[in-house]
Structure formats: structure tokens, C-alpha cells
Symmetry: C2
Subunit: 351 residues, 2 copies
């Protein structure tokens, strides 16, 4: 076992504070990674505050991890020390179920998430990326091109794949009209990917002040969703709408904007239910409401490679870990453009 | 213009009563049809009672029409006097929009429904199938094989296509596990089609007494949906579930039974909203909730031909039109196995 340091929540009321713990020694198929950067995902806050009711403390959050390989087990073939790598929301799965065999490990019933998930090695709960290093089986480690800014690449591991996967799964491409609802960590990546896939991209926001930024990120049009007339100009015109807003809201606004056979895809779980969607909106144009969850390892690698080829990263604000509690408050106020990324070098002074 | 007779609601409180009115003379592309049988659809009751708020009175309902051609316009090529034919929910559409060009006239914004719809010929509202005859453009008339019992074929024109179309659209076939929710006019057709397509069919009902009948109709299994343990044996195992129940109910029961990428398809519009479906159920298996609306003319003909080849009709109870008001009350109590069909010969005594 190897000592390391990170920041942890000690209980659901606690701020994140320094925490010393151990990582396992690399097993034959393991990769030991020095973590350079870790993105701050809204789901980190939900779990630190036990808002999903399944939190185990102390908890070291973080699943948007980018770093350098420092050591590999003797059966590791795909990585060598010095490689730039990423770790996302998953660190293991059963490998044999239909979902795993189809490279959709995110749906495996035995998927092991990167933190706050049972860890077969320690017998306890595992620890995430707000720390100096991590040890992960090679099958759950991803190559990150050195063409990319590594800090700005970190959010690709969750915000990136969460938006890339549904756009790919529903076949978004050239000639399609695509809506992105919400301009935050997820939404700003949704705009970038939909634009890169050749779609005509419309950003829906409740905040008129975000229009210029949305256009800069690649939106062809911006619609203020509270302006009913502006919204209704787009009735029945979208092939696909990716809704990144987790707060409860009226889905009928968006189902009514879909063409026949169009899909509204939700990627956020609201803490209270959305108003019940109008079934007539679905029936009269054969529309669907669907959900999507991050992506499998194969697709996550494909996404990272696509980002390297197309120079796509997240818009970020880098912070030392000592500012993470303040950053959480700002995330809750949507006061970040568009993702906080922790520079883990800031942990050195605690070693 | 030609005088005819039918049964109409004179206002939203009125029982159906005899009504004399006129049909247009057949135009060059029109087919004049002697109506033999007309099914009683639940939507007839909604409209007669103005429960959708758009009713025009007097209203002659009926859109599950089977009869014989008695006259054709001089440009009609596909029909001749004596042919057995059907008319469903649609009697016209714009013919040029993308939906019409893809043979999905049911989604055309200018679709003309068979009754209670603006009639360009008369300038008023059109009249449906609870009558002695009807005049319809040949493109909206369907061939009905004389292999089929014509009375039992009538409900195919709405209940049949409403269940056939989604099962086809979502590709139900051999090896699939398919759920049908509700055993009524729609549900009993859903069982028959899903079985004929080679699927393993599970009927969900709130009424234990319907189990034997469901098996007779072709269900491989019957699950009483109020029995939570029985339901949960089927978690995450269905490829597709067709929900024919319009009354508000908990959709989460059914989304949780879908495999990854499975679809719950709704074909009934509830008068009050369903409880809001759990978004997590969609996200964690990439499931969808969709809607489906009858079918286009091409698919309706395909369905009728499939029924002729596979000896599929509706299970019906034939009534004279003089019993239609009593039949409505029984439909509202689900006291019919599984569709009332009006024998329009019963109108002769009024002529």
C-alpha cells in the first residue's frame, strides 16, 4: 500500500478538507497515475452532500481525472510511464454481461464508479480524483493526446462523454437541427460536439446574457426559453434535443419543438420530478423522451481522439484545491465558465 | 348530393339519435361505399361528449368502417363496385408534406380525420361511419380481403393499425420479449400482432380474471400489474412495451422492465397526466418513452393484408345501432370482449 493525500468530505455537512489515505500497490494489470488535474462535476457536490442518499464518508470525490503514468503492472501492455492518461466515471465492471460485451460498461449492473463505490481491493469504498495519485486497471484508463491542453481535457472525461455519447447514439450529423438546453459544464460541451458533427445548433437558455458566449462556443442560434414567441418559431423543427438541465422544468416546451420521430434526450436527474410531460406531444409526432448515461470505455476513447483531431476541450477555470469549497458554492450559482478544474500540484505543500 | 341516414350526437349531453344528412356526389377520384359495419372506438365517446374540447355538433362518429363499393368516380382505378373496402381514421391529407411523401399521412398537419374534421367539400364538419354510406377519395380507401369476416375486420381500421404500427416501427420480431399493457380493444389486438410477429408476449393487466382470455388470444405470460413481486421478476427484460391504457398510471413500473435501449410506447392520451416518470429509469439504461398514432395508408393496407394472410381479426360483439348508447356505457366499464361493432343494416328500418 502506498500513502497519498487528497481532499475529502468527512460527513455530509463537512467542507472538503485534507485527507491522508492509501492506494493499493499496482497489480499486474494496473496503471499507477500521478493526477495532474481533476474537474469539478456537479455530481461531486450531490454526493459530498449525500443528496443521493448513498454516500460513504470520508469521501474523496472526482471523476474527471487527467495525469501521467508513473508505474505499470507487469501485464500492462497499453500504457508506459510518462503517458498522458485519463480516468472518467468508471474504474471497473463485470466484463462479461451483454452491456460489457457491447462496450457499454456504464450500464453494467456491477459497474464500479470512480469514487463512493465498493472497492473489491480494499473492501471499503473507493476514492476519486481530488488526490495526488490513483491506481486503475488498464482497461479503464484512457489515452489523452498531448496535443490537448491537459487541464482543459479533464472535463472531457465526464461532461464531454455525457454529451458526446447521446449525440452519437442518436446519429446527429450534417444537416440535422440540434437543440442544446442549458449552457453549463455539459451544455457548452454539447454545443461544441454538435457543431463539430456538422449540425445546426440552437442553444436554449433562461439567461439572455449567455447569448454571445453560446455563439462563440459554436451555437448558430440562441433562444431564450422564457420567451414563448421566440421558442414557438421553432415548433416541430428539431431532429434531436439534448437537455442538460437537471432542475425540474417543463419538458413539453422541448418535445413540441421536435420533428416527427425526434428525440428529447435527458442527461440530468432532477431532485424533484419534472412536471409530467404531455403524452399527446409524443403521440402526435411519434416523438420520444430518452435518457443517456456517460459512455462506455471504447466510446470515451473515441471521444478523446475526436477531441484531439478537432482541437476540442472544455472552457475551464483552474483552481488550487484549497479553493474547492468556494468553487462548489460558485457551481451551485452557475458562476463558472464552464468547468472548474483542480490543479493537483496544489496538494504538494501538504506532503 | 345524396340523402343518407345515420346516428348522431346533437350536443355533448345528448344520446346518439337518428340523423338525416347528405353525402356529396362522388367526384372523379371518389369511391362511394355502402357501410356494412362500423366499430365503436373509445375516442368516439370522448368526442361525442366533447371531452377533447373540439367537438362540432351534430356529430356522426365512427372511423372503423367496412363496406362494399357501390359507385366509383371516373378516375378511380383501384376499386370497382362490389369490392370489400375499409375506411379508417383518415379521409384526406395535404399529399405534399414530408410526412405525406413518406406515407405517414397521420402526422400531416392538414390531415382530415373521418369525422368531426373540417370538410372542404361541404364547408362544414364531416360525418363518420355510424351511417348507411360514405364517399371517400380513393387514396384513403383500403382493400379488405373477403377471406376476413367483414364485421370482425372493422376494428382493424383503428384498434388494429394503432397497435400494428408501433410494433412494426420499433422492429418487434422473433426472439423479442414484448409487453402489452391493458387488455381492451387495443390490447387484444396488440397481443395478436406481437404473437404473429414471433415475439414472446407478456400481457399486463390489473384484472386477474383476464388471464385465461389473454392466453387464448396469444399471450405467453400474464402478469397482474398490481402484484409487485410478480412484476419485478421481469425487471430489465423487455425489448418493447406497448402501453394501451389511457387512464393515468405509474409509467415507472414499465420503464423499469425495459432492457437497455428499450422503448415504452404509449398510444393513449390520458385525460389527466400520468405521474411524472422517473428520469433515472431512462438514464440508467438509455430507455425511451415514446408515442405512436394510428398508421399511414400504406401501412394500414399492409396490416390488412397481413391480417388476411394470418387470419387475424378483432374479437367483437355485434350490435344494432339502436343499442349504441348502451354499448357506450359498457365500453366505459370495460364490459366488452373486445370491441363493439355496429351492424349498419339495422339502419334500414329508418329509411
Amino acid at each position: 500500500m502506498q500513502k497519498t493525500i487528497g481532499y475529502a468530505a468527512y460527513n455530509h455537512n463537512s467542507p472538503l478538507l485534507p485527507f491522508s489515505f492509501e492506494r493499493r500497490d499496482p497489480q499486474p494489470t494496473d496503471v499507477q497515475i500521478e493526477i495532474l488535474f481533476c474537474g469539478v462535476c456537479h455530481s461531486d457536490i450531490h454526493q459530498v452532500r449525500n443528496e443521493w442518499g448513498n454516500s460513504v464518508f470520508p469521501m474523496v470525490p472526482g471523476h474527471e481525472i487527467v495525469g501521467k503514468v508513473i508505474k505499470t503492472g507487469n501485464e500492462v501492455t497499453r500504457f508506459k510511464p510518462g503517458d498522458s492518461v485519463g480516468v472518467g466515471c468508471l474504474v471497473d465492471s463485470c466484463r462479461v454481461c451483454p452491456d460489457c460485451r457491447e462496450n457499454l460498461e456504464q450500464f453494467c449492473n456491477d459497474a464500479v464508479f470512480t469514487y463512493n463505490s465498493p472497492d473489491k481491493h480494499s473492501g471499503g469504498s473507493n476514492y476519486g480524483g481530488y488526490s495526488r495519485q490513483i491506481v486503475v486497471d488498464q482497461d479503464f484508463v484512457l489515452h489523452v493526446s498531448d496535443k490537448l491542453d491537459l487541464a482543459a481535457a479533464a472535463p472531457l472525461l465526464c461532461a464531454g462523454i455525457t454529451t458526446y455519447s447521446p449525440l452519437r447514439n442518436w446519429g446527429v450529423g450534417k444537416g440535422d437541427k440540434v437543440g442544446i438546453v442549458g449552457l453549463g459544464g455539459l451544455g457548452h460541451m454539447g454545443i461544441k460536439f454538435a457543431r463539430a458533427f456538422g449540425a445546426h445548433v440552437v442553444l436554449f437558455t433562461t439567461t439572455p446574457g449567455k447569448a454571445n458566449d453560446a455563439r462563440r462556443l459554436g451555437a448558430d442560434e440562441v433562444v431564450v426559453s422564457k420567451n414563448i414567441e421566440e421558442v414557438q418559431e421553432h415548433l416541430a423543427s428539431f431532429d434531436f434535443i439534448l437537455d442538460t438541465v437537471a432542475a425540474p422544468h417543463n419538458l413539453d416546451v422541448y418535445t413540441s419543438l421536435l420533428k416527427r420521430d425526434g428525440t428529447l434526450c435527458l442527461v440530468g436527474v432532477p431532485d424533484h420530478p419534472h412536471p409530467s410531460p404531455a403524452v399527446g406531444n409524443l403521440i402526435f409526432k411519434r416523438r420520444s423522451i430518452a435518457g443517456s448515461l456517460i459512455g462506455g470505455l471504447k466510446e470515451t476513447q473515441e471521444m478523446l481522439d475526436f477531441c484531439a483531431e478537432n482541437a476540442i476541450t472544455s472552457d475551464i477555470e483552474i483552481i488550487p484545491i484549497q479553493q474547492v469549497n468556494e468553487a462548489y458554492e460558485r457551481v451551485l450559482k452557475s458562476d463558472v465558465k464552464y468547468r472548474f478544474v483542480i490543479d493537483l500540484a496544489s496538494l504538494k505543500q501538504l506532503e
